[in-house]
């Protein structure tokens, strides 16, 4: 077995999963498994979401009208449910990203007071 699978995972902050999903979807429609994989690989394996929480999140986004879903065939000719961003979802992503950078910079300022001051 590969040892890296047992590397300690980073916990995802409450509320950031939705943003990550929207971010993943901005490159085009994806199905649930692919979304999970993309988040994992993009974060260089350090972020691994518990797949169980992925689906409730997707359904929550769909109910809010941020994503839409339909069943399509994958490249492997397998039927899967694809999610895509709605215009409302795109706007929401921009908004969330703005908030996220504010948060990061604010936290960064607290954690590294000298560097920021310089």
């Amino acid at each position: 077995m590969e040892p890296k699978r047992y590397r300690p995972r980073l916990e995802i902050l409450q509320g950031t999963l939705d943003m990550l999903i929207l971010q993943t979807l901005q490159w085009g429609p994806q199905h649930g498994y692919a979304i999970g994989q993309t988040i994992r690989t993009e974060s260089a394996e350090s972020l691994r979401i518990e797949t169980g929480s992925l689906y409730p999140a997707l359904h929550r986004l769909e109910k809010q009208g941020l994503v839409k879903s339909d069943w399509r065939l994958t490249e492997q000719n397998q039927r899967a449910k694809f999610y895509r961003l709605t215009p409302k979802g795109k706007k929401q992503l921009v908004h969330e990203r703005g908030r996220w950078s504010q948060l990061v910079s604010a936290i960064g300022t607290i954690l590294n007071p000298k560097r920021s001051r310089s």
């Binding site: 797949t51 169980g52 689906y55 492997q76 899967a80 449910k81």
Partner: protein
């Protein structure tokens, strides 16, 4: 969005979710296997990675909860659970559904009748419930039609109705000679079909151009049912000639299939122009202001109220009174909605339906109480389950909804089965009613959307009623106690169940007392004589007019028939009469003048009458209190004679003896001398009050249709054959329209009691059985819950009799409280059925005591079984178990 799309969407969400998660696993496993992992290990790893799949699915599903789709998902779950519970407890479910089926069937049947009378009174007429009738009201409230000339004046000038039309119903003979049959004909004004919006399925309807000059329009439209019955639905019927009362009519069309004319419950067979009235039944009424034969009908203009229309009608009444005053009668016009019209079945059926409906609701209450009881008992058994649900986080509101949905799941099959049962029963009820009706009865009592909706609404109301209290109680389960199974859960439900049982006993006693009163009335009515002796007397109806006899040849035929009958050795006496006594409905009445008497302005001088041949009183054994019977000499050449009844004689001349030689007349016709006074008989119904009555001699005032009453001392069947033989011998072309005995004929007047007694007994027995089940249930349950107490009592020396008596006493106490309430209620309510009673008081002791005894006896029997079982308890077993 309808329910099905909702359900469909809900299913789609669930199926999507499952498929989505499955796809996820497939992909994960495929990727790992492709990377060289062992398939089993890959599956395990994928599952580990996914985490709690069940929880994920629940959470995803929960996202949709709270939306419309989500609510449907929840309710659908409840429904499925309800159905599972129903299947799991088949005994409980079947009892509940059966009890509900009975309750709803009775109500649906009554409602179907109500629908036929009030909601769709005239089949085939659009929105027939909203038609109105303009009528003439007598001082004492009797409704009369209006005369043809009056109608013409009103129809031309009125502004309240969009259009007013009118018709006159007559019994007529269709065909000639022995083939003739009795049909109902409606003489209609030209705009009749147009006004009602009724079309023809073949040929055309009648139009105003068919109703212009008296006697000039021998055309007829026949009804669908006659077309099928008598003409085998012959498509070539249009253009053929039919004979109505011996007159040729050309058939111009067949009316729309479901149209039955405008007399509620009467199936009209043939429609002819009103202008043909003199040809069908001389003399002409077309110009007689004093003959109130027309029934009007029409739709009021939008925005015109009944009161406004009545106000306008009153103006016409005043104007007509001024221009054409009538002796003895003030015109008093009134407009009423069709359900209050006195012309048709609604007059005598709607009050009966109100009583039946009331009984139906009482029964439904008993049914609900019973089901509530069953649900309570089951609820107690389920407190464990409900406790678990609460512990798992279900809200009480959610729990309440679950229980209500479960009750609905029980109630709806009850509603459907009830409607099916009602549709099976109705033909029998209708047949019973038809047998007692004087002619073919037609009512739309079919099970349609109205009835179905009513039953479903009723069942939902029941579900809420019988489910709410128990559900509320069940949802208040004490968590810890329920889970530990230590709760004294019976004690809480005990008082409520006792209350339900008490009310059941009370209601069933009310019904049984009513049944008892009506049964005793029936017995009294069957014993009672209507003032005449009907045994050994024939009642054979013949129709001379159809056979072509006119006012000159008719009386000759009558004389020859009387000669033949009096010479017949099998008969002790024989006579003829226009109407049969105790006919259930009032027959014709005439405005009557008494010489030297000025009636008060508000006095009703319209008296019922009959036209009879000599020997009538002797044949029916009606005693003459003064004077003499009509004789063969009271013919056209003799001074006009009349016989009156006791009530009339006493009203105007103080005594029967005094009446002899006095004079009266009908309308403005010639004065007639009173030659005899006869004792009162029951002219329509056994329960009628004494009223004035006039007998005219047939030999002086000829009528073409009459009944032959012949009395025999020998075999009645032989006598009937002989009478028919004499009619045939007189002229084979004379149609015998009905051949029966007078006893059979007057049974009609008893049919009301028969029907009411049957229905009430059935309902009463039903409720007492329900009440007995209720008592049994409560006592059995108490016994079961008190086993420990019983064991201890027995162990410390109580005798088995004492134990049995204790529980028997509890049952008896419940029944006694219920019975006391029931007797009190019945004493108050029995006045409502007073009109149905004959020969017994509304507070008849025998009916009250008998019904109470029956209820108490059954109640004791119902509690005896569990009480006896309680006394059989083995104290050792019980004490060991606890």
């Amino acid at each position: 969005m309808n329910l099905f799309t909702w359900l469909f969407r809900r299913r789609r969400i669930e199926r999507d979710l499952d498929a989505e998660i499955r796809t996820h696993f497939d992909m994960a496993i495929a990727e790992r296997t492709a990377a060289g992992e062992d398939p089993n290990a890959a599956r395990l790893a994928a599952m580990q990675e996914f985490g709690n799949a069940l929880q994920a699915r629940e959470e995803a599903r929960a996202v949709w909860r709270g939306t419309a789709v989500g609510a449907v998902v929840d309710i659908w779950q409840d429904v499925r659970f309800g159905v599972r519970m129903l299947v799991k407890n088949p005994g409980f479910s079947l009892v509940v559904i059966a009890v509900l089926t009975l309750g709803i069937a009775g109500n649906a049947a009554v409602f179907s009748l109500f629908k036929g009378l009030a909601l769709k009174p005239l089949p085939g007429v659009r929105d027939s419930a909203s038609t109105s009738v303009l009528l003439n009201r007598t001082i004492d409230g009797r409704g009369l039609g209006i005369s043809v000339p009056d109608y013409r004046d009103i129809a031309a000038g009125q502004q309240s109705f969009e259009r007013l039309t009118a018709s006159m119903m007559v019994f007529a003979s269709l065909g000639r000679g022995v083939d003739a049959r009795r049909v109902i004909a409606e003489l209609v004004v030209g705009n009749y079909f147009e006004t009602l919006g009724v079309g023809a399925q073949l040929g055309r309807t009648l139009t105003p151009s068919d109703d212009v000059a008296p006697g000039q329009h021998p055309v007829a439209v026949i009804g669908d049912s006659l077309w099928r019955r008598s003409f085998a639905a012959d498509p070539a019927i249009v253009g053929t000639t039919i004979y109505i009362n011996g007159q040729p009519f050309s058939v111009v069309g067949v009316a729309a299939p479901d149209f039955n004319g405008t007399i509620v419950s009467m199936g009209v067979d043939v429609f002819v122009p009103l202008m043909m009235q003199p040809q069908l039944q001389a003399p002409s009424r077309l110009d007689m202001r004093g003959v109130f034969g027309l029934t009007t009908i029409g739709y009021l203009k939008p925005g015109v109220s009944i009161d406004a229309a009545t106000a306008e009608a009153a103006i016409f009444a005043a104007r007509l009174e001024a221009q054409h005053p009538l002796p003895n009668l003030d015109r008093d016009f009134e407009v009423v909605p069709i359900w209050r019209s006195p012309f048709g079945a609604q007059t005598y059926w709607l009050p009966a339906i109100a009583v039946l409906g009331g009984i139906g609701l009482l029964i439904l209450m008993v049914v609900c109480a019973n089901v509530a009881n069953l649900v309570l008992v089951r609820g107690a058994g389920r407190s464990g389950e409900l406790g678990v649900r609460l512990a798992l986080g279900a809200s009480r509101g959610r729990l309440l909804r679950l229980l209500l949905v479960e009750n609905l799941v029980l109630a709806l099959p009850g509603a459907l089965a009830g409607v099916v049962l009602a549709s099976w029963l109705l033909p029998y009820v209708a047949a019973g009613a038809a047998a007692s009706a004087p002619s073919r009865v037609y009512l739309d009592t079919s099970v349609d959307a109205y009835v179905l909706l009513f039953a479903i609404a009723l069942s939902c109301a029941c579900a809420t009623a019988f489910g709410f209290v128990p559900a509320l109680r069940a949802s208040r389960v004490e968590l810890a106690a329920a889970l530990n199974d230590l709760s004294p859960r019976l004690a809480s439900g005990g008082r409520l169940r006792a209350l339900l049982v008490v009310s059941q006993v009370a209601v069933s006693l009310v019904l049984l007392i009513a049944a008892g009163l009506v049964l005793r009335s029936y017995a009294a009515a069957a014993r009672a004589d209507g003032g005449f002796e009907s045994a050994q007397v024939t009642s054979i109806a013949i129709d001379l007019q159809t056979a072509g006899y006119d006012a000159t040849r008719g009386p000759v035929a009558v004389t020859r028939l009387l000669d033949a009958l009096s010479a017949e050795p099998a008969l002790s006496s024989a006579s003829l009469a226009m109407n049969v006594p105790m006919s259930l409905v009032d027959n014709a009445s005439r405005a009557t003048n008494v010489e030297g008497y000025a009636p008060r302005a508000d006095e009703d001088m319209l008296f019922l009458y009959n036209v009879v041949a000599p020997q009538y009183f002797q044949t029916l054994r009606i005693p003459l209190l003064a004077g003499r019977d009509f004789t063969r000499d009271d013919d056209a050449g003799a001074p006009p004679a009349v016989i009156v009844n006791d009530t009339l004689a006493r009203r105007f001349w103080a005594s029967p003896e005094n009446a002899l030689g006095k004079r009266l007349r009908s309308g403005n016709s010639e004065w007639r001398i009173v030659v005899g006074v006869a004792r009162d008989v029951k002219y329509s119904r056994l329960s009628e009050a004494p009223r004035p009555f006039v007998y005219y001699p047939l030999l002086q005032s000829y009528v073409p249709t009459f009944h032959i009453h012949a009395r025999t001392d020998g075999d009645l069947n032989y006598a009937m054959r002989r009478v028919r033989g004499h009619v045939q011998a007189l002229d084979p072309a004379i149609p015998i329209t009905r051949s029966t005995t007078l006893t059979e004929q007057t049974r009609v007047a008893l049919s009301v009691y028969e029907l009411a007694a049957g229905a009430l007994t059935m309902f009463g027995v039903m409720t007492i059985i329900l009440a007995a089940i209720g008592i049994y249930g409560v006592i059995a349950y108490t016994v079961q819950q008190s086993t420990q107490e019983i064991g201890i009592r027995l162990a410390i020396g109580a005798s088995r009799e004492q134990v049995a008596l204790k529980f028997l006493g509890r049952g008896a106490a419940l029944a006694a409280i219920g019975a006391a309430i029931g007797v009190a209620l019945a004493a108050v309510a029995s006045g409502a059925i007073e009109s149905l009673l004959y020969g017994v008081g509304a507070r008849d002791v025998i009916a009250f005591v008998g019904a109470t005894g029956l209820v108490m006896g059954l109640a004791l029997l119902a509690s005896f079984i569990p009480a006896w079982r309680a006394s059989r308890t083995d104290p050792l077993t019980v004490l060991r178990r606890h």
